[in-house]
Symmetry: C2
Subunit: 210 residues, 2 copies
């Protein structure tokens, strides 16, 4: 089997180039026409490939689109090998990641498609399931891995519920962005990280079950 899949180097390069063109086309188009009018035909035309090339790699337009976001979003497209930054300082690294997220929301070319997709996911349970599999869970695993590294470094307790921690760190940023209640600033995200890591300073009301 492995032998049959082996290709000459120039063919591999062409495949990778097509794949990137398809992902970029899907990302551009969803910002222009919205998710409902996005089609495999449209993506193929924009990318300059045949429909069959797309169907060879992806089962649906949603799958293409989430791979496009994964390529472009935190870690995935920045040559970091798909992980969050790890300088050994969890607080500094989380601040840096959330500041980068603020930067993404300030870029209309990223913000528009992200908003269109977020709205679709909220109204469509089937799409939400594809999202979770293709994008949500891979991103969440990156976040868990960074928190595990902080546990190994003794900066977070071993018994920490990583999924609760992730929700606390990322949800306020998501909601402020989605609802536009107040400007999403780097000062805000810094303070969220501090408040989550250190708590609100509650006193005299017992301690969590750890």
């Amino acid at each position: 089997m492995a032998a049959q899949r082996r290709t000459r180097p120039d063919a591999t390069r062409r495949s990778e180039s097509s794949r990137r063109a398809i992902l970029a086309a899907a990302f551009e188009l969803v910002g222009e026409v919205g998710y409902h009018r996005l089609s495999i035909e449209g993506i193929a035309a924009r990318a300059g490939v045949g429909k069959q090339t797309i169907y060879r790699w992806w089962p649906s337009k949603g799958a293409v689109l989430f791979d496009a976001f994964l390529m472009l979003s935190e870690g995935g497209g920045k040559g970091t090998g798909g992980g969050l930054p790890d300088t050994g300082d969890i607080e500094a690294d989380l601040k840096s990641v959330l500041r980068a997220t603020v930067g993404e929301t300030e870029d209309p070319l990223f913000e528009g498609p992200l908003r269109a997709l977020s709205i679709e996911i909220a109204g469509d349970p089937a799409l939400a399931a594809v999202y979770a599999e293709r994008l949500g869970e891979p991103l969440r695993e990156m976040k868990r891995e960074r928190l595990r590294s902080a546990q190994r470094a003794g900066q977070l307790p071993a018994g920490l519920d990583l999924d609760i921690a992730i929700d606390l760190i990322w949800s306020p940023v998501f909601q402020r962005w989605l609802y536009r209640t107040e400007p999403l600033t780097r000062e805000y995200t810094d303070r969220v990280v501090e408040a989550v890591l250190h708590g609100l300073g509650a006193t005299g009301i017992g301690h969590p079950r750890a």
Copy 2:
């Protein structure tokens, strides 16, 4: 001026009854037809009142609808005088409020309209502004007031940023509900409250600026 506004008790009762019928009609209809097809005409017909009766009290369908949510949501419609519960125990009270929110999301008659509206707000900055004025800010002020009471009771530090605290407590619940990533349970919301109040137990990485 006050004398001109005075009405006989039966007229006041009729007004209050019409007001409640209008709010209930708006709430039912948005769940049935969605926000785009919701109209003042439709609300008037369902409530059995004239359009002018609605326009006398509200400037737009969005304003009616947010008042309907305010009447039905946390505190506003439960005879508590519009406040969050205050037993003197901030942790228990926050858990109780978030458990009630989980209950609301389990009721299709509430969940459907709330989801329809949340999606509309995310895609429509003008509606988001009406939401913020009519519903978002009144609810947020209820939350701030409960946290201030905890500050007075010595359970939260005086210098706490109340808006950051509110975001940390409520955003994870909102995002888990909106994206349906995992079931929204009372066990989850209890643990969110504990983690927010006490922090993740981060150690050796300095302390927040308080």
